[in-house]
């Protein structure tokens, strides 16, 4: 068989996985593992937990491949599985989640903007500020900026309404704007 990378699509590989092709699941692992690992690590705050969960995600891919209908991108599907498994693990650890309304009002427990600005440029400061966002807002920011997901894909991955995705994005960006202003960076919005 001769296939260019673009032709050997994720969907085709999932089809091969469904037939028991282990090389195909390994290729999908190599393509997507790093991003799945990072997504889970940033949700859970634990790289060891992310390591376990990321492997479970690809085992789940192996099991569920025959039933995958291709209604969403394979990467979106995998992120959704990762999200579900991360929440399950966190629930086992009895960690509490906060709702959107509370999230907007809860003070950050990580670095303050003043600490973040100790780093001498805006990009570094922003990196710290993003890390300090509440998890539910940070997930939306990560999925949009790093994982390149659309509003509807984020809604699917996080199992929330589209309007909630926009709300979380609004609050996240508002919080980043406030943090930048507090740190002495000029920012026009909000």
């Amino acid at each position: 068989m001769t296939a260019a990378p673009s032709q050997q699509s994720d969907l085709e590989l999932v089809g091969r996985v469904a037939k028991g092709d282990r090389a195909a699941v390994r290729l999908l692992f190599m393509r997507h593992h790093a991003r799945i690992f990072r997504f889970v690590a940033r949700q859970t705050g634990s790289e060891s937990m992310a390591d376990d969960i990321a492997n479970e995600v690809f085992l789940e891919l192996w099991k569920q491949a025959p039933g995958f209908e291709g209604r969403s991108q394979v990467s979106t599907w995998l992120l959704g599985i990762a999200r579900f498994k991360a929440l399950s693990h966190l629930r086992k650890r009895k960690e509490e989640w906060i709702d959107d309304a509370d999230a907007a009002a809860v003070p950050d427990t990580a670095d303050t903007p003043e600490v973040a600005v100790m780093k001498d440029n805006k990009a570094n400061a922003l990196r710290g500020m993003v890390n300090a966002l509440p998890e539910e807002q940070r997930s939306v920011i990560d999925l949009a900026y790093y994982h390149g997901r659309s509003v509807t894909e984020i809604a699917e991955i996080l199992s929330i309404p589209v309007a909630t995705v926009k709300t979380r994005m609004f609050y996240a960006r508002k919080k980043l704007g406030e943090a930048l202003q507090a740190a002495g960076f000029e920012r026009g919005w909000p």
């Binding site: 990378p5 190599m30 990072r38 309304a101 900026y145 919005w189």
Partner: protein, 220 residues
């Protein structure tokens, strides 16, 4: 949860900017953002802020480094889940690897590299033909080299692979891993060169599967 009551039209457009930047915006939302960017100077400044966020978020994510042995451990989990892998009409290289798997893991990689290198050198050291242009790259050479993952068809011959890789500045730097996956280093200075060579590899009859790996630093 509905949109916040105090969300102005500008707030709505600002909220869409990350999706404009990642290329997923479409329809009326895309038209609205593009019109805003074309007519309001403040929109350009807002877009620059979103770009800065883009960089910050990317850096925050890239700072999380996946473990290097993740694939190896996943293979073990997969074997535990579904049983040891059956052999399936191995190619010459895959067959070589299959024989080497009886060697203790601590020496298997070195033995594999040495054995494959020997076979490949034999394949290209034909009379009248320049030798030494196909090799298992050294660790230092391979450390920062752009690479691609390749599996070969059962019909693939060493001679075909050797000739092609030598002509295109490509080198096997590791493999085969379980499943017959080889890591092939590519001497490409730009992403465009990388894509061209990867495309060439994928177009060869001996290439079964090609999965892009590390691209050159220009990232394009």
């Amino acid at each position: 949860m509905s949109e916040p009551e105090d969300m102005s039209r500008r707030d709505e457009l600002e909220t869409l900017l990350p999706f404009y930047l990642n290329g997923t915006l479409e329809g009326v939302d895309l038209e609205a953002v593009e019109e805003w960017l074309a007519t309001d100077p403040a929109a350009v400044a807002a877009l620059e802020e979103a770009e800065a966020e883009f960089s910050g978020v990317s850096a925050a994510n890239e700072a999380v480094r996946p473990p290097a042995d993740a694939l190896s451990r996943f293979n073990k989990m997969l074997d535990a889940e579904v049983g040891a892998e059956r052999s399936e009409s191995p190619s010459m290289l895959a067959g070589l690897w299959a024989r080497l798997t009886a060697v203790p893991a601590s020496v298997a990689w070195g033995a594999a590299a040495a054995a494959i290198a020997l076979v490949l050198v034999q394949a290209v050291m034909e009379p009248g033909r320049p030798g030494g242009d196909f090799e298992i790259a050294g660790t230092e050479d391979a450390a920062n080299m752009p690479f691609v993952f390749v599996t070969f068809t059962p019909e693939a011959t060493i001679a075909d692979i050797a000739a092609f890789l030598a002509e295109n500045g490509a080198t096997i730097v590791a493999g085969p891993a379980a499943g017959g996956v080889f890591k092939v280093g590519i001497e490409a200075a730009t992403a465009q060169d990388y894509d061209r060579i990867v495309g060439l590899i994928a177009a060869q009859p001996f290439a079964e599967t090609v999965a892009p790996g590390r691209k050159p630093a220009d990232g394009g």
